[in-house]
Symmetry: D2
Subunit: 317 residues, 4 copies
Amino acid sequence: MRSYEVKNRTSTDDIKALRLITAIKTPYLPDGRFDLEAYDDLINMQIVQGVEGVIVGGTTGEGQLMSWDEHIMLIGHTVNCFGGSIKVIGNTGSNSTREAIHASEQGFAVGMHAALHINPYYGKTSLEGLISHFDCVLSMGPTIVYNVPTRTGQDIPPRVIHALAKSPNLAGVKECVGNDRVKQYTDNGIAVWSGNDDQCHDARWNYGAMGVISVTSNLIPGLMRELMFGGKYPSLNLKLMPLIEWLFHEPNPIGLNTALAQLGVARPVFRLPYVPLPRAKRVEFVNIVKEIGREYFVGDKEVEVLDDDDFILIGRY
Amino acid sequence: MRSYEVKNRTSTDDIKALRLITAIKTPYLPDGRFDLEAYDDLINMQIVQGVEGVIVGGTTGEGQLMSWDEHIMLIGHTVNCFGGSIKVIGNTGSNSTREAIHASEQGFAVGMHAALHINPYYGKTSLEGLISHFDCVLSMGPTIVYNVPTRTGQDIPPRVIHALAKSPNLAGVKECVGNDRVKQYTDNGIAVWSGNDDQCHDARWNYGAMGVISVTSNLIPGLMRELMFGGKYPSLNLKLMPLIEWLFHEPNPIGLNTALAQLGVARPVFRLPYVPLPRAKRVEFVNIVKEIGREYFVGDKEVEVLDDDDFILIGRY
Amino acid sequence: MRSYEVKNRTSTDDIKALRLITAIKTPYLPDGRFDLEAYDDLINMQIVQGVEGVIVGGTTGEGQLMSWDEHIMLIGHTVNCFGGSIKVIGNTGSNSTREAIHASEQGFAVGMHAALHINPYYGKTSLEGLISHFDCVLSMGPTIVYNVPTRTGQDIPPRVIHALAKSPNLAGVKECVGNDRVKQYTDNGIAVWSGNDDQCHDARWNYGAMGVISVTSNLIPGLMRELMFGGKYPSLNLKLMPLIEWLFHEPNPIGLNTALAQLGVARPVFRLPYVPLPRAKRVEFVNIVKEIGREYFVGDKEVEVLDDDDFILIGRY
Amino acid sequence: MRSYEVKNRTSTDDIKALRLITAIKTPYLPDGRFDLEAYDDLINMQIVQGVEGVIVGGTTGEGQLMSWDEHIMLIGHTVNCFGGSIKVIGNTGSNSTREAIHASEQGFAVGMHAALHINPYYGKTSLEGLISHFDCVLSMGPTIVYNVPTRTGQDIPPRVIHALAKSPNLAGVKECVGNDRVKQYTDNGIAVWSGNDDQCHDARWNYGAMGVISVTSNLIPGLMRELMFGGKYPSLNLKLMPLIEWLFHEPNPIGLNTALAQLGVARPVFRLPYVPLPRAKRVEFVNIVKEIGREYFVGDKEVEVLDDDDFILIGRY
């Protein structure tokens, strides 16, 4: 048996077949290091409830607050412990082409099944520069390109995606611009995952999306699975809207971090610049949980409001 | 003599007094490392033509493409060689609070006179998070806060700036939102530098700005000095508009990198994801130089169009 | 299934049971990066010929020339591709306690089965310091302590080993001081692997050693397996002596690197400060291979002398 | 003024002229980061008492426990604050040629006056490898080569030094092998600094050494200056022997770290693997200080024994 047969066990088509991918939360110890035991529990809950893939160190998982060695370690750890049960997609993108190349090489070397790549946020570049950037990493393995102009300051226009689609490694696009853009791609045979939980039901059932790369599924993986697998289900979609609105009231993952602490599945430790939602919002969350049903949420402790003093905010770690 | 007297030789008021600060270009060797000899020449030209400060490793200087050790080394190098002649402002900001803390400590330790701090781009945070982020670094020394929502995806609203202004270390704001916002601050005694070269003349003379943090001054430091020191000068301002429009046709520093290579003062080496402007644009630049006058631009070689093959694009460095 | 059951699949006793462990070579691409395809082939050859464990990034594997992120990536890669077939022991030791802690945490997180720990070479410390150093990492998982005073400048005396042996995680000692020292430990129930290929036969069969952590087994894994598994075999031992002497004529891994290039299983690329053996020594190696029999050596190309020009020496990578 | 005139303000001859160089201690805050205020005070005391140069981040300064960015920052900081009053020699050596190249480039870029380079400890190499290693860094600026086989496990033989002496950048050798070796070099016009405080008086006055790179001068800079500048002074030399013996009773800088804490000029914070000398030895130090005279030692607090609980030992920092 040659090792590369092991390594390349995931094809681009395997990635395209995923309907429900969670942008997994990274939980922390009180000193700011990764809490791998809590992390492993979170991943296990995802697997048990039918999630098919995880984004490791996405914006939700706070890859932007990791050193690269932490980031690659977390990818390797996830592959090592769970790679047989769930697809591991490493967010090895960067606004620095050098870093994107280096991290993607390392991520694939430690066994990740696919890479998520963002366009160069903040620094930005020309369309030619965008294509050059993605071309440097596309050859390495299955790749999802991520478009979120409200974070990056720059839209990836269809022209660029169509250029990249010539590569057999382009699995598809995580698209946050809206369902009309989704349709533009799915009409042309390009796989899309909705990057907006509030639009993902419609994206999946009305606009041809493969599924969703979800934040909300950190909390209610089973219900999100129903939304992506169970056929059109507008009543469930409607029922989840208050939760989704609550989650994105402040920039993600502020809401998610607060919620997972309240559910007792992650310590109430925040790496700055993230800070918890204020008390009033935490009370709201308890009500939302009761409305939907505690049993649909991860963990089995009672949901708590938590005091301001319960939270630990860390700048040096 | 106690060393901290040496270190703290620059007060916040010294920084506030600066009218013309250049966001200096970082030139590269063909293998992608810093070309320190070219860099030193660029800084010398700035000093000779009356520029009072430099931003080291700003977005223009491609701090986003540097490792932190490269970045701090460049700050230390600039202080060591030129710190007596020009104020050295290190862009030690980051979307990671940890990195901003670490880089700012190191930058002040190697002698930088002030820090430039951005809000957490891409990852973003709540307003409370923004204030917590800046509070972690403000205590270290004179600080300029940088607002450029088209890059960061998030405006720093006046409410946040007013909160930060309670610190004696806040030197002021580099503001890119426009001159109405500039006036909001200057009316309240907060120092502002325009971050938009096309608006800086009006910002300075009509809206109370202290001056400009400029990209264009990499090319024509003497003319930019006239614009900031010589009183209202609308005809000069108008004359420079074609150059400024050309420079920002694509995301900065693509235009600047292309121009400095054409002027023969930096090697035509690009760190990806930046790529040079296309040939047609390079021809345009030659004409713009002739229109304004070669003698106003840095360097003394003839301005060239350059062939596509003259450029080296580097992903691994 | 809880993830930690997966992670802790290797007990200290599993490690103690290993007879033949190879300190595996790290091969390079012409630009100095890891040549993972060649590496995978090398590991496969080890597995096929009965080697039971590998030291990743040992002194033989030039861990001292790796950045830590390269090093952890290589451990994670090896676990990911081969962890089911061979025990992966990461050399996560360092003369800096901080680095040893950090690397060991990361190495176990990505699935290594055991750690190899050296005493603080070059910097050295007191015996109390030695114990404090090892105590920081022993709690993390199965651990082999490595004593090689000719490299470290400081012997780890039995007193220290006996103190560490109170931890259930101490798998044993890789000992290079000689077989009398080996016996001191094996008489007291402490597992030992010989760190000297020329002494390992006697260590195993006359002094109670568990086996060997071998350099030579990179070249002749099958014969080394016979030496460790086949009972006393002095004639084979004698037959291998010229090879072993040749290998250690200059500081390891200079000989090994030269030999593997000559056998055509690794590119002739050296990271400085290592340089190939001179031509006369390379001729000698060809003769040694013929004497022992090419079929016992890894690879299937003809063994070559190689010209000086065939070698690439790299300082920046 | 061209910047490189500023940068290259120190010639190799300037370095050769130094008689008393201190391998300066790095003091720490309770969380393990550098205590730059204490450091600055230490350097000031050195300057005031006539020391002419410092080794930054030597083995005494625990460069082996620093990340490279910390190390370069400390060099840049020292140049920035004290570069006009004392020569700053950065220990930018490494057993990895890549690291030695990178650190030396950065160190000279931030203004260090000379580099100290060790041979590749622990990993070791052939004599040809040694020469290749040093050749990679010698071209960058004035260089002192450091030979200390009891730490590195490998002597740098005269043959290698003579080969390196062809470079105009070789300032000389810090030699720890003994005064006969010193004489071998000084007879041939190669500058030598003794690396052994107990031999430095004789090295200087009987064996032709330029002076000393001293540990003891951290404690008694004025007396060490007398020893190097005042002509033969055997009675002073003899008087200092008990202190020097005490200092090197355990591997340096264990004694020095303990002593500086007892003198109240550095916090009693140790980065592992270093731990303080035991109480009995600390009592001895108090007596030694009284014997020589408190006024000759740095600081002005009373010398204390300190309790075991006063010391903070740190593994993660």
